[in-house]
């Protein structure tokens, strides 16, 4: 045994040494971080290699991080003073970096570069990347969502002329306008079967919200007064209210468009798959879906049909008769980090990536519409006679040029995400048909305005004093040590006890050293930050008890999240333990092939999280979902054990993840799937019970139940106790399920405490406040564990020291 340990340690040390950085550095190495997926990444790698060839002496290291984690990583690296040199950024996130001095202003660099022509770029995407008049991000692409993809065959079959982009929408269909009325076209393209069920929708939005935006913006309304720094919101504007009601009615009453839940429950992405499988005749999206459709609909394949794109409809003012068009958009670019050691080289790279070489490559691959107008009108982007056949679709790509001039960017103010989130969590019931737009938007605007006031209130705060903080930290550490050892000081210790104490330190030393090295510092740091206002990038200010006060008495979401998390824990932990124990007992029986069964039962814990999330969305899907099929039968009329009629008295199929009463129970059901870990622990516990205990009990005439009660339960109780304690700790910090499945919705019904904490920390850059939330959670978990520890006296430890 000892030799074995020695061998392993040596091996580990050798391997550790081998991993130390050894690579020699090139003259200049630039780090470039992007969030592109695989396909764009291949293009970008080519572009950066071309750059290296054109600029010998500069090496580029291309790092790719998905958008969902991009900013968390970037912020952490900025805080750790090891930021990349050039980073991809978009209008929604640009301001939070620009404002805090992390980005290099580009105007001086442009002035020094005589052959650089900013006026060649589309004006809207340049101006949206300015903050207080200064340009911080060089745009790479513009991505208007104002495009309608349409199925030519279905238009022909319905006897409708193909849209030329001049169409308008209206609140009611206007048959007299024929195919020039979008609403009419939508209704004509909807097909129902004999039972009245929709077989083919006329239209689908990629995101219901983006279509609502189109309706709002084309009427001339905007959500806020000043996109760069607003202090008022217009969600109660009658045009906005009308837009929400209109979009909801298209899905719920008219059924010309799939509803929000019908869309989100279709898994392999959304509207584009309905389009490819010809279940919708047209849908709204940006240009980025093109490669996917091209791949799925290759000319000559059986699934192929003719398709094209056109402009989203405008709105014709009934009084003045003028038509106005506007659509929401995305877009992105590159910014140079102020901390870079090589600003000149970084600017060269930025010009290359967000200039002609980068844009032409992306355009050729059909991935992104160039931000330079000339390129967006050139043959790299618009199909011409030299375009290869597979790149001919869509033919009408010239409309993207028009669309790029009618875009409305989301507000760039860095508090927009948080404040609008409060409104949009209230608008989900509108789409579900359970609230009117009037009441939901009024309520949302009220909550959001209060929050906005809190955010905009400038508090005069003194800088955080790190000397006092350091002293407080050490005092805390000392107090903890005193708490642990204080009571022992008064006791008289024998020499044997002293020896045991010294020896125990040896055994404990890895953990004690590790804790002192890696854990104590960060924990104390976060505790100190909980008394501060800290935005991660700039120095912290001292806020006293302000964060705690805000959490307990002002935060509109705090108590909601406490309730959601509490209910989840109280239900899912006991349920999970019973389920895990039942499975463990089942797997502890003597049946041939048990190793195989055990592996199968553990598969959910081994499967990738992405795959599991996908399956669960399929299971909970209202139409065609497995759960509803089991309860209601495939025709939707069955009634398993009367559950169906209890769940859905109205006869509508329950929408598990989309219904605010069912979303949390759905996540609890899902958590049962993840009991594999507890199951294995309990199984290991069961395996430790010697057979002769059972034999003895049998001799005493015990039945199955009393054997379970007298032998199994006590002997497995240490494992059960473990699963209880760690289960509660884990589920009070539950995060991933809601992050992946529901993002806290609908109407905050699955907004777990940790989700809120995460949004506050890396989303709103309020790390001080997030730390206070974390320490409040710490206290709650500590108290909960303390209470459960009383059960320890019922736990049977055979070898307790």
């Amino acid at each position: 045994m000892r030799r074995f340990v020695l061998l392993l340690t040596t091996l580990a040390l050798v391997a550790g040494m081998a991993m130390l950085p050894t690579s020699a550095r090139a003259a200049v190495e630039l780090r470039l971080v992007v969030w592109d997926g695989d396909e764009s990444l291949r293009v970008l790698q080519q572009v950066t290699r071309d750059f290296e060839r054109a600029h010998p002496g500069i090496k580029v290291r291309l790092e790719n991080v998905d958008y969902r984690y991009f900013f968390q990583r970037l912020l952490t690296q900025i805080a750790g003073n090891s930021a990349p040199d050039v980073a991809m950024l978009d209008p929604q996130n640009m301001q939070m970096f620009a404002k805090r001095g992390t980005l290099l202003p580009l105007d001086p660099l442009i002035a020094e570069t005589p052959d650089f022509r900013l006026e060649e770029y589309y004006e809207p995407i340049v101006s949206v990347h300015r903050w207080e008049g200064t340009l911080y991000v060089l745009p790479r692409d513009i991505a208007p969502i104002g495009l309608i993809y349409y199925n030519k065959r279905l238009f022909r079959e319905a006897g409708l002329a193909e849209p030329d982009g001049s169409w308008t929408w209206d609140f009611e269909p206007r048959p007299e306008l024929g195919s020039r009325c979008f609403t009419h076209v939508m209704s004509r393209l909807t097909r129902r079967d004999a039972g009245g069920k929709v077989r083919q929708w006329g239209f689908a939005p990629s995101w219901t919200g983006a279509f609502t935006d189109t309706v709002v913006f084309s009427q001339g309304a905007r959500y806020v007064d000043d996109p760069e720094a607003f202090d008022r919101m217009n969600f109660t504007d009658p045009r906005v209210v009308r837009a929400f009601d209109f979009v909801a009615s298209l899905a719920n009453e008219k059924k010309w468009m799939p509803s929000q839940s019908e869309l989100t429950s279709v898994v392999q992405s959304t509207a584009v798959d309905l389009f490819i499988s010809q279940r919708v005749a047209m849908y709204q999206c940006g240009i980025w879906d093109v490669p996917k459709i091209r791949k799925a609909l290759q000319p000559g394949s059986p699934d192929f049909f003719e398709w094209d794109i056109t402009l989203a409809p405008g709105y014709k003012d009934p009084v003045t008769g003028t038509v106005s068009r506007a659509a929401p958009t995305g877009g992105s670019g590159y910014g140079v980090l102020a901390s870079t050691r090589y600003p000149k080289e970084a600017w060269l790279l930025t010009q290359w990536m967000a200039g002609e070489p980068g844009m032409r490559a992306m355009a050729k691959a059909g991935i992104a519409q160039p931000a330079i107008k000339r390129l967006a009108q050139g043959e790299d982007w618009i199909p011409g006679p030299n375009t290869p056949l597979e790149q001919r679709y869509p033919a009408n790509r010239i409309v993207t040029d028009v669309a790029a001039q009618q875009v409305v960017f989301p507000p760039t103010a860095d508090y927009w995400m948080e404040v609008s989130g409060l409104v949009f969590s209230k608008t989900e019931p509108i789409y579900l048909g359970t609230a009117t737009a009037e009441e939901a938007l009024t309520e949302g605007q009220r909550i959001a305005s209060t929050r906005l006031e809190t955010i905009l209130k400038e508090e005069a705060l003194p800088p955080f004093d790190w000397r006092i903080g350091g002293v407080a930290g050490f005092a805390l550490l000392a107090a903890t040590i005193a708490w642990v050892y204080g009571p022992e000081l008064r006791k008289k210790r024998s020499s044997a006890q002293r020896l045991e104490n010294r020896l125990s330190l040896l055994f404990l030393s890895p953990w004690i050293l590790g804790t002192l090295f890696f854990a104590v510092g960060p924990m104390i740091f976060s505790l100190l930050m909980s008394f501060s206002k800290w935005d991660i990038i700039q120095a912290a200010d001292y806020r006293g008890l302000g964060n705690y006060n805000e959490a307990l008495f002002q935060d509109p979401r705090f108590w909601t999240t406490v309730k959601v998390t509490g209910v989840y824990t109280l239900v899912s932990v006991p349920l999970g333990m019973v389920f895990a124990l039942a499975l463990a007992l089942l797997l502890n029986t003597k049946v041939r092939g048990m190793p195989i069964y055990r592996t199968f039962f553990y598969l959910p814990a081994l499967a990738s999280a992405v795959a599991s999330a996908l399956i669960w969305r399929k299971i909970f899907q209202p139409e065609g979902g497995l759960l509803n099929a089991a309860l209601f039968g495939s025709d939707g009329r069955g009634d398993l054990f009367g559950v169906a009629s209890w769940l859905a008295p109205g006869g509508e199929l329950p929408n598990w993840l989309g219904d605010e009463r069912l979303a949390l129970p759905s996540l609890i059901i899902m958590s049962l799937w993840g009991v594999g870990g507890s199951m294995v622990i309990l199984l290991a516990g069961l395996q430790g019970i010697p057979d002769y205990y059972y034999e003895a009990a049998t001799l005493d005439g015990a039945g199955i139940w009393s054997k379970f009660r007298v032998v199994t339960l006590p002997l497995v109780s240490p494992s059960l106790f473990f699963t209880l304690i760690t289960g509660v700790i884990g589920s009070l910090q539950v995060f991933t399920q809601a992050f992946v499945m529901t993002q806290g919705g609908p109407n905050d019904s699955t907004r777990f405490y940790m989700l809120h904490l995460y949004d506050q920390s890396f989303g709103s850059l309020r790390m001080g406040y997030a730390s206070a939330l974390a320490w409040l959670l710490f206290v709650a978990v500590f108290v909960a564990t303390r209470l459960q520890w009383r059960l320890n006296k019922y736990v049977y430890y055979e070898g307790a020291a």
Binding site: R2, A12, G16, M19, W35, G37, D38, E39, R61, E63, N64, Y69, R73, T76, Q77, A79, N81, P84, Q268, V272, I276, K292, K295, T480, V484, Y485, P487, E488, Q497, E500, L503, F507, P510, W511, G514, T515, A519, P522, M523, M529, L586, L587, T589, V591, R598, F601, L606, L614, I615, K618, V680, L683, A684, G688, F722, I725, M767, T785, G799, A800
Partner: protein
């Protein structure tokens, strides 16, 4: 005559119980195999078939093309990622099993001053959400010049291996009958001997459990490699394959092929490891 009938009845009842058992097990297999089966079915489809068929339908013409693409994609070097992941997971597991078992032994079998309160301190390190300690931890590793190496992902495992694993091992160690270590003590054995000769050999099932958990945890860890490793050459499978799962540009066919390739080693590890889950009994039965 009646005795024989009784015996027959018991045998019938037994086999009836057995049949129910096997049916339950088979049903469980069916349910729990869903995610892996579905990923597998999806990984064998062409992109256009994926877009137009139900997720769990079996492909009309299964194809290995997606696997070929994942294994040969130059921008996401699978074999490189695989090797990195194996290194990190193995080191993390070795470190955890060694150091957590030492610490757990002290908490379970030694009677030192302040033990119970120190244990409360141990548990409390699990109670603070990692999000708020992420930045200071990053700064710490940055100051040690460990960023962009595998050290932040492996070295801490050798220092305790985490409260979860220590707690788990402690629960198992406390179940080892006291008579065993007392007998060893009488024979003059010290704590090190009891730890290495009595407790560790008897804890095969617990150590295998911790080892398997730890390996899976490291294998699937996403946040750690994401934050600490910048170099594309140092990435792990989980961060590398996330390239196929980028927002708005998911490539389900490659993503699913990749996720099957990532899961297979874990299935093998679990299958091999679970033999040791059983090992505990025969030993404790010796008492």
């Amino acid at each position: 005559m009646s005795a024989r009938r009784d015996a027959m009845r018991t045998r019938l009842a037994l086999s009836f119980g057995k049949v129910t058992l096997i049916m339950l097990l088979a049903l469980g297999c069916l349910v729990f195999a869903m995610p892996v089966y579905t990923s597998f079915a999806m990984s064998l489809k062409t992109p256009s078939e994926l877009a137009t068929t139900a997720a769990w339908s079996w492909p009309k013409q299964p194809t290995w093309a997606n696997y070929e693409e994942v294994l040969s994609n130059p921008s996401v070097n699978f074999f490189r990622l695989f090797w990195n992941t194996v290194t990190i997971s193995t080191l993390g597991t070795i470190g955890t099993v060694l150091s957590a078992s030492l610490v757990a032994y002290a908490f379970a079998k030694m009677n030192f001053s302040g033990r119970d309160r120190l244990f409360a301190v141990l548990l409390s390190t699990m109670m603070l959400p990692a999000i708020v300690t992420m930045i200071p931890t990053y700064i710490l590793f940055k100051e040690l010049h460990w960023v962009n190496t595998m050290l932040p992902l492996t070295v801490p495992a050798f220092f305790g291996g985490g409260a979860f694993n220590i707690f788990l091992l402690r629960q198992f160690f406390m179940g080892i009958p006291k008579e065993l270590d007392e007998a060893a003590k009488i024979e003059g054995a010290g704590h090190w001997t009891i730890y290495s000769r009595v407790v560790m050999p008897l804890s095969g099932s617990a150590l295998a459990t911790v080892g398997v958990f730890c390996f899976i945890y490291n294998w699937r860890d996403f946040m750690g490699p994401l934050i600490y490793l910048n170099d594309p050459q140092l990435q792990t499978l989980e961060t590398g394959l996330a390239t196929y799962n980028s927002l708005r540009a998911e490539q389900w066919h490659l993503l699913m092929a990749g996720s099957i390739l990532v899961t297979i080693p874990l299935i093998v590890i679990f299958f091999l490891g679970q033999r040791y889950f059983v090992k505990g009994i025969s030993m404790t039965g010796l008492k």
